[in-house]
Structures are given as structure tokens and as C-alpha cells.
Amino acid sequence: MDTFDLKLNPLPSLAWNQLKMNNTTVKDVIPPKRLKADIKGAESIKTDEYNLLFDSVMTGCGEELSLLLKKSGIESAAIVLSGSALVHVKLDFGREKAEALPLYVYVKENFSGTLIMDYKSSLASKGQAIVQSKIYMEENSKLNLVQINRLAKDFTLFNDIGALLRERSSLNLTQILLSGDKNYFGAKVDLTGDESAFDSATAYALKGEEMLDMNFVALHRGKRSFSNIEASGSLRGKSEKLWRATIDFVRGSKEASGRENERILLLSDSAVNRTIPLILCAEEDVAGDHGATIGRPDEDELFYMASRGIEKQEVYSLLIRAKLYEVAERIPDDEFREEIKKAIGEIEGA
């Protein structure tokens, strides 16, 4: 079978070559088959009518992933969200060695609701999964997008997002990585409308030789647009994480504000943490900032818990889970949130 090498997660502005952070090359990617998704709570629509609209939506993983999906002949699923809704998309990978779901989500004006995407693999312990979500949000719409990776431990996941937000629309993205092996996460959000907003939080607890490679881009075109890109997690064993985040203020995006923040707990000398948070600015009247805090647990926290009789290993477990719980609190659906919090409590080794 022919496989492909993909160049993914490109930085919008190149850094020094020696850093090896400008993009990631993934070798031997298998052309996927279409995954049939279980979608509840949303109306399916014909993709043809929306191709032109969604072709204009760029994604964070980059063009080569989109080209792979096209070459593989994978037809997108498409849903429309209107009024108010709680939508569940259940993806169960493992029937084939490699499966993909390109999903178009058209969010109508004034929609307010939640889309939960739950990635599992009940049929296999190993495989390759591709999910590309393209979201077009009309004016005044609000979408909470929740993505949970619960794939088996030898799965490779390419999770790609592209979104275009019109005036006063807002996208809240919550991502939690509960398992899986190699994870490539990309998101590119075009804040084209005035007062559009993107708020994202990604949490992870990597162990063993797990890997997370991210590329999140908030493109501010609209006036008074807002972005907040957060990532928090822990690294154990020989895990590796590369977090790329970009806030890009295009000229004309007056009074826009953008923030990037990363907090990482390092629990192993063999883990590799790499971070590259960009701010690109061509507009005077904006406010952008980023912060990163990386390293060991706070000594005062450790002392406090030790003084309460909590063993060191248990303290580390609490700290690992705390980062995941914090992001899980963002899940709007009570039942699903509790399910995920229970799963967090069962994380191996934490």
C-alpha cells in the first residue's frame, strides 16, 4: 500500500531552522477510509451546497492533510446547527487501519449550543485516526466545541480544526487528551467578524512515549476580536510535547486582544517540552500577550500537601489530574462532564 509523508502544523512565520519547530513531518501516513460517525442532535445537510463556503476555511494542520483527504476520496459529513442544541458526535475508530472523518459544521445565525466529539476505538487497540472539523459560524452564534481523545493507547490521531467566525460569534473549544499515542492537533480560527471570539483550552497528561504536537492560530481580522489560547498538562516518562500558538493581528483589527498561556508540569528528566508562542502584529491599537510557566511543582504546594500527610506520589497524581479537571469543568453538559471526570480519575499511573 502506498503511504504518504505529510508536512503538518506549519508555523505562520518561520523560526530558526535549528529549532525544528517550523513544522512536523509525519512519515508513512496510510490513506484512510471514511469513518461512519454517529451524529445525534443535528440535521445533516448535503455537502455539495456548502463546498465553496468551507473551501475558504483554512485549518491548523495545514494543506497537506486536506490534500490527503481529497486524494483518498473521502466525502465529508455535514451538519447544520440552528436554534439551540446539544449535539453528540461519536467516533469509533478501528474497523480499518486508517479512518478519517471530515466534518463540515454550519452554524446558523443566533445559534447557541454544544457540539461534543468523543473519539474512541472499541474495535482495535492500534490504528490511525483523522478528524478534520471545518466550522462556519454566522453572526451572533455561540458554539461550545468539546473534543475528547479516548482512543486506545497505540493510536495516532490527527485532529484538525478550521473555523471562520462572523460578527459577534464565539467559539469555545475544550480539548482533553486522555489516551492515545501520537497526537497531532491543529486549529486555525479566522476571526473575520467584528467582536468575534475564540477561547480554547487543551489539557493533557502524557506518559511513556506519548507525543502531542500542536499548532493553534488565531487570525484577528475583525475589530474588537478576542482570542485566548491555553494549554496545560504534564509530561512523564519519555513523552514529548510541542506547542505552537500564534496570535496574528492583521492591520485593521483595531481594539482586538489576544492571549496565549501555557502551564506545564515536568515530571521526568527524559521528557521533552518545546514551546513557541508567536505574536504577529501589524496593528497599533491591539493588546497581545503570552505567558508560559514550565517546570516542577510549586514547592509551597508540595509542602502544604505533605504537611497534610499526603504521600509525594499521590501529590503528583493530584497535580496531574488537577490540570485535566480544570479544563473538564468547561464542558457544558453535566452528564458528559461527569463521565469525563470519572475517566480522568482512572488515568493510568496518575
Binding site: L19, L267, T275, I279, A282, A287, T293, I294
Partner: protein, 470 residues
């Protein structure tokens, strides 16, 4: 009430730097870069055999390397139109009275002789490709401090030391312009501070590139031995021409155990200059390197001073300000590598972009596996004064040890309305409040410089506040 006028940051005043000296060069090599040109440079400098071979090897490396794909466009730099060696009409003197009048006037205009009299332990003044003046105070020389031109150091009693260290920190394979420097370097200073010696007042080198369509490739090599301390200041300027000039200097700093070196730079090249400079320091156990850098000139700059913290407990402090105005694309930043336990780095940078200027800040904080208990904090702030300028921040962090504390923050924006309101609530008029804030923005560097240089820097950034920004 006057109409509401936009606050603006005045363009830098360049009048004292733009003076062109019409004196004839004694020798100007033809434009371009060939093996024959490199051999002639080597011959005219009476290089030892190893240096000649080194230059030719560097030329081969230069020819084989590609320009990097990131960074500002340098297509306006045509090496076939650059003279890599221009010798002024004088040899090196130890007394300003012996320096040819025109050249002396140029340096007097720049305040160098006066600074030397008032507050420096020694001065090296380079004009085009060669030093025209070099001196060190007797009492400093009596401490065993060596401050001499690189060419003398290459062949004199320190020849072995120079050979051992020359381009061992910056390698000719690091990038294309490090290779170019290796091939055509000329001028610069060698400084050696023996153990347990405190050099209480600074040494300074000043680089003036007077010739149009020429390059300056000085090499600075400083070795500060165990327990010693030194403050070294470098300054540079050039008059503006309509043709491109090139600066591809190199600075190599060795800071031994428990030693301290502060390296301050006020860079004010003209706006036709391509400033592709390389600076690197390696710090041993308990040693400290402090960089203080003000970048105000050049058409294009690539500049990322790098510190390798190689000994336990070694430290790096990096403070800089970059001002990009019309026609300038300044790509600056820093790198620090924590390569031993208990090392620490503290970085504070500022940038101002106006009138279409482009500022790019790049950084790398790398913590290797063995660097447990290391700490690093990086703070970078960018001020945009209008919406035709640009400011990009591209910081990278690479951590491979767990018992570390790393913090990074960056901010970009305009003057904070809250800060103005706070000061006004304390009784300051609005204009004065904003003037204070903008002056304070540049203070991170000026407060680290000796007063005379802080004054020069503040002269470079004269700020005129009328009304409010935006």
C-alpha cells in the same frame, strides 16, 4: 483647546552620525569576493600561515551555504558590489594627536576622545577595515590587562592564546555570514584580563564605517579569567549612502570561573547598512555574562547574542532595546543555553516600531538534561506607535530537565490607558504622564549604561509628546 494631535515618537536624530569624511583611502580592494581577494587581504595583513588557510576554508564554506529562509529580505545586498577591505590613510596610533586630522575630527564629533579622557580605561577606534587608534591606561596595563588590536594579538606574545580561541565559539559553519566573516575579517580587539583582576572602568571599541559600498568585519575576542571582572562597551556608526554597506562582525567572549563580563553595545549604523552580526559567550562555573544592547540603526539587522552557560551556577543577564523606524527591518533577539545545573538567565527586552519599521524578536531558551535546578525568565515588550509598522515575537523554549523553573511573558500594544489614568490621578498632566511612560519603556537599557552612554542613548530616542496616541 488645541486640536487633538497624535503623540508620536520622533525619528532618531542622526545629524552627528551622518558626517561623511572625504579623505582618500590608502587602499581599497576591488568589489566582490574571490579566492584571490581573500589571499590579498591575508597577505596585506601579514597573516600567519594557519590564518591564511583558515580564511580560504571559510570562503569555501561561505560559497557552499544557502541563505536562511526565515528573516528579513537581504536581496538588496550584492556581494559583487561590496569592497571587503578598505584601509584608511593611516596606521594605528596611540595618541589622538597623531591621527590624521579628518579622521580625528570624525571621532571627536562622536565624542570618543572625550569619553576616553573622562571615563574609560582604554579605547580602540576602528575606521573602515583597520584600527586607527588604540590605547590603554597605564594603571590598567599594570594590572596585566591586555587590550590590543586583533592583528597584533595574532602574531605577538598572545598568538597561541588567540589561535586556541579564534572562531572556536562561533564556527564558520554556523551560518553563511559567520563563514564570510572568517574569510575576510579585519580589525577588532583582543582583550585579556588575568585572574582576580577587577577592571574598574570600562574599555571601549568604536567602529566607524566611512567608505560607501564597503564592509566591516571586525573580530572581538575577550577572555576574562577566573575571579575577574570587566565592562566592555562597543559603539558603531556610519554615514548614510545610497548604496548598500555590510557589517558582519563577530564577538567571542570567554568568561572563566567566578568572573563577570558586561558587554554593552549602542548600535547606530546608517539606514543603508546590512548588519549581520554574530555574538557568542561561554560562561564557566559561577561566572556571569551581562549583555546590554541598544539597536537603533541599520536597514536590516540579524542579531542574536548567544550565551552558553556551561558551568554550574553560571548566569546570564540580557537587556535590550530595539527601535525600528522607516525603512528598517530589525530582526533581533537572543539565545541562552543552560548546559549545567543551577544556572540562571534573566532576559528583558523592549522594542518600538514606528513609521513603517519592522521589529522581529526571536529568542531561544534551551535547558539541557543535565541542567537541573536551573531558572530562566524572559520578558519582552513591544510598543507599536502606528498601524503602518510591524512587530513580531517568535520566542522558543526547549526544556529537557524536570527540576527547573522557566517563565516567559511577552506583551504587545500601545500605551496603556490605565497607566495614563493612574498617573493623571496622581496630578500629572496627560502629556507628561505619557512622556513618563514612554521614557520608562526605554529605561531598561539606559539605566544599565554608564551615564554618558545613557545620555547618548536618550539623545537617540528623543520623544516628543503632543496629545494622545491613537
Amino acid at each position: 483647546m488645541a486640536d487633538n494631535e497624535k503623540t508620536y515618537v520622533e525619528d532618531l536624530d542622526r545629524s552627528i552620525y551622518d558626517y561623511k569624511d572625504e579623505s582618500k583611502d590608502s587602499y581599497r580592494i576591488e568589489d566582490g569576493l574571490t579566492k584571490e581577494i581573500v589571499e590579498r587581504i591575508s597577505e596585506s595583513k601579514n597573516d600567519p600561515g594557519w590564518m591564511r588557510e583558515f580564511r580560504l576554508k571559510a570562503l569555501d564554506v561561505y560559497s557552499s551555504m544557502q541563505m536562511v529562509p526565515w528573516g528579513p529580505d537581504i536581496s538588496g545586498l550584492n556581494m559583487n558590489k561590496i569592497a571587503t577591505y578598505v584601509r584608511p590613510n593611516t596606521s594605528m596610533k596611540a595618541d589622538w594627536n597623531d591621527v590624521p586630522e579628518e579622521i580625528k575630527k570624525t571621532f571627536e564629533r562622536l565624542g570618543i576622545p572625550k569619553a576616553e579622557r573622562d571615563s574609560l580605561a582604554g579605547v580602540g577606534a576602528q575606521y573602515d577595515s583597520e584600527l586607527i587608534y588604540h590605547s590603554i591606561r597605564e594603571e590598567v596595563a599594570a594590572q596585566g590587562v591586555v587590550y590590543t588590536d586583533m592583528e597584533s594579538a595574532l602574531t605577538g606574545e598572545y598568538a597561541d592564546m588567540v589561535k586556541k580561541h579564534f572562531m572556536q565559539l562561533i564556527h564558520i559553519t554556523d551560518h553563511k555570514f559567520a563563514a564570510l566573516h572568517g574569510a575576510v575579517w579585519s580589525g577588532g580587539s583582543f582583550v585579556y584580563v588575568p585572574p582576580n583582576t577587577e577592571v574598574k572602568i570600562p574599555l571601549q571599541s568604536y567602529f566607524r564605517l566611512n567608505a560607501p559600498g564597503a564592509g566591516q568585519f571586525e573580530h572581538t575576542l575577550i577572555i576574562v579569567e577566573e575571579g575577574s571582572s570587566l565592562h566592555f562597551i562597543e559603539g558603531c556608526s556610519a554615514p548614510k549612502y545610497n548604496v548598500a554597506n555590510l557589517h558582519a562582525g563577530a564577538v567571542e567572549l570567554y568568561v572563566a570561573k567566578g568572573a563577570k563580563l558586561r558587554y554593552s553595545t549602542i548600535e547606530n549604523w546608517s539606514k543603508n547598512m546590512y548588519n549581520l552580526n554574530t555574538k557568542r559567550a561561554i560562561v564557566s562555573e559561577g561566572g556571569t555574562i551581562e549583555w546590554v544592547s541598544g539597536s537603533f540603526g541599520s536597514h536590516v539587522t540579524y542579531l542574536y547574542p548567544m550565551s552558553i552557560l556551561n558551568g554550574e551556577g553560571s548566569k546570564c543577564e540580557f537587556t535590550s532595546i530595539t527601535f525600528a523606524g522607516e525603512g528598517q527591518n530589525l530582526d533581533t533577539g537572543m539565545k541562552v543555553v543552560h548546559n549545567a545545573p543551577y544556572t540562571s538567565s534573566h532576559v528583558s527586552t523592549r522594542s518600538i516600531s514606528k513609521s513603517g519599521g519592522i521589529n522581529t524578536f526571536r529568542s531561544l531558551v534551551k535547558v539541557n538534561e543535565n541542567a537541573h535546578d536551573s531558572k530562566s525568565s524572559v520578558s519582552c515588550q513591544s510598543l507599536m506607535v502606528d498601524d503602518i509598522s510591524r512587530s513580531d515575537t517568535i520566542p522558543a523554549i526547549d526544556i529537557r530537565a524536570k527540576d527547573v523553573d522557566i517563565g516567559h511573558e511577552a506583551k504587545i500594544g500601545r500605551i496603556s490607558d490605565d497607566a495614563v489614568f493612574y498617573l493623571m490621578s496622581r496630578g500629572l498632566p496627560e502629556e507628561e504622564a505619557k512622556a513618563m511612560i514612554v521614557s520608562g519603556f526605554a529605561e531598561n537599557v539606559s539605566k544599565e549604561l554608564p551615564m554618558e552612554y545613557a545620555v547618548e542613548m536618550n539623545n537617540l530616542i528623543r520623544l516628543e509628546m503632543k496629545g494622545c496616541i491613537g
